[in-house]
């Protein structure tokens, strides 16, 4: 049986998602004789989807309003120059599965604000996110059989719950320390060039432009220290570079992974 090299999307699905999406990723992991989880995936998970869940939990805790938190979520996407799918946002607004929709209006007389839909939704989602965050962090290493690609420059600290919110230090890599991936990557300039050329052939989009910039730096000035920003910009290239030849990169985003993996003769699987 093959071995899997797990990317951030699979980690996110197993730790944060629910229902069929989660089960599909879990079932996919069960197909392999060995599942390798690079610490880089944990790092990206912590800085990306995990931090987003924490942000939303804290927004709900501080605004006490589901509607306000959703508006803030929309604004956050705008500031990151990302598009939130309209159908997904509308589904969140409707929250048709909420316990609030089963709460009779007459309970408002008895329970006041605690029986109002916005307040109910706020607490319902906040409590679910709080559980998700705690469980996800506790279980982050248990989804795979083998941790790989350790990053001595990544502190890997989890969130702390204080004053009703989660505190998550930005963490990542300390500014004054050289990225530990750089020293390993510059040993294979041929791989870096192959990856760079593969990225150049990809559609123009901000993520690819950032990745190209980071790869170009490694190719042209290999001895220059790499900071956390460039480390994160590498993204999918890290998985393509470091995945052992006897593994398959497991991801829900084959579109971006395949060209990079193919450039180094590696394979990609999806759930």
């Amino acid at each position: 049986m093959a071995k899997a090299y797990i990317d951030t999307t699979i980690l996110t699905n197993v730790l944060l998602n629910v229902g069929q999406t989660r089960e599909k990723s879990k079932s996919a992991l069960a197909r392999y004789s060995e599942t390798q989880l690079p610490e880089y995936a944990v790092k990206e998970f912590r800085a990306g989807p995990f931090a987003a869940f924490i942000w939303l939990h804290n927004e709900l805790a501080q605004s006490h309003s589901y509607g306000s938190a959703l508006k803030a979520l929309q604004a956050l996407f705008g500031s990151l120059k990302r598009n939130m799918p309209a159908t997904a946002f509308q589904a969140l607004v409707n929250a048709q599965n909420s316990i609030g929709h089963y709460t009779p209006a007459q309970l408002e007389k008895k329970y006041g604000a605690h029986a109002k839909l916005d307040n109910i939704l706020c607490d319902e989602v906040r409590l679910s996110l709080r559980r998700k965050v705690l469980r996800a962090w506790a279980g982050r290493h248990s989804i795979a059989s083998k941790p790989v690609l350790s990053l001595p420059c990544f502190d890997g600290k989890g969130p702390e719950f204080r004053r009703g919110i989660f505190e998550l230090k930005r963490g990542g890599c300390p500014r004054h320390i050289d990225c530990s991936l750089r020293a390993r990557m510059i040993k294979r300039p041929d791989h870096l060039i192959a990856l760079r050329d593969a990225v150049m052939r990809q559609p123009q989009k901000p993520e690819n432009a950032r990745r190209l910039k980071a790869l170009n730096n490694l190719v042209r000035v290999p001895k220059q220290h790499m900071n956390d920003t460039d480390c994160r910009r590498l993204g999918d290239a890290v998985f393509a570079f470091f995945a052992p030849r006897d593994t398959r990169i497991l991801t829900t985003n084959p579109k971006d992974h395949r060209p990079l993996a193919a450039a180094l003769g590696k394979g990609v699987d999806t759930p």
Binding site: N17, G48, R82, N97, I99, Y102, Y111, V125, G164, N253
Partner: protein
């Protein structure tokens, strides 16, 4: 509104230090400081074969445990009443299931589900309480049209009794109860959490700027 961080509520205002006719079934966490009550042995018959609590079973009612609490907190008073109803519905459902009267069991679960929204309105009691109620609601809702199994009824009954005797349970204690729901096959979360996970799992969210 109580501070959400105060997971263990000081019960000194609620519990009189007088003799009770029945021993308290409680954890050290929820016993008022300085209480001279000895904690009874853990009731090991909570799951299979557990009967309704009686005066001799070591189970203390909410009114005895928190004699002033229900007066000072209308939400606690409502929760006490609703949890008693909830336990009755689960008992009915469990017995009906064992008698293979699946229609009666289904109706009893409908009745249980109907009172959970009002129980959630009492969530000012604490985050542990609120988290448990909403997880139970989604467990039943997500179960859809499938028949409940004996073990699932037993777990729900354990959870309801636990809440009734420890309404101020901590968030961490609540997670253990919710884990028990997952262990018997329930999906404890709302599908909306999945929508959020899909949004943040977009490969570009959070990637380096």
């Amino acid at each position: 509104m109580p501070d959400r961080d105060a997971e263990v509520i000081n019960l000194a205002d609620y519990i009189k230090r007088t003799d009770y006719s029945e021993p308290a079934r409680d954890t050290a966490e929820h016993t008022a400081a300085g209480s001279k009550h000895e904690l009874p042995q853990e009731d090991t018959t909570t799951f299979e074969g557990a009967s309704k609590p009686t005066a001799d079973s070591g189970y203390m009612s909410m009114e005895k445990l928190y004699p002033l609490g229900t007066e000072k907190s209308p939400e606690l008073k409502a929760a006490v009443r609703l949890l008693q109803e909830a336990e009755a519905f689960v008992d009915e459902a469990l017995q009906a299931c064992r008698d293979e009267d699946f229609l009666a069991a289904a109706i009893a679960m409908q009745e249980l589900k109907a009172l959970l929204p009002e129980l959630f309105c009492c969530r000012v009691i604490g985050d542990g309480f609120g988290a448990t109620i909403v997880a139970l609601f989604h467990s039943i809702k997500n179960h859809g049209d499938h028949a409940f199994e004996d073990g699932q009824f037993v777990t729900i009954r354990f959870l309801v009794r636990k809440l009734a005797s420890e309404p101020f349970l901590s968030f961490e204690e609540a997670q253990k109860l919710i884990d028990e729901l997952e262990d018997v096959g329930f999906a404890v979360e709302s599908p909306e959490i999945g929508i959020l996970a899909d949004i943040v799992n977009d490969d570009v969210v959070g990637s380096g700027t």
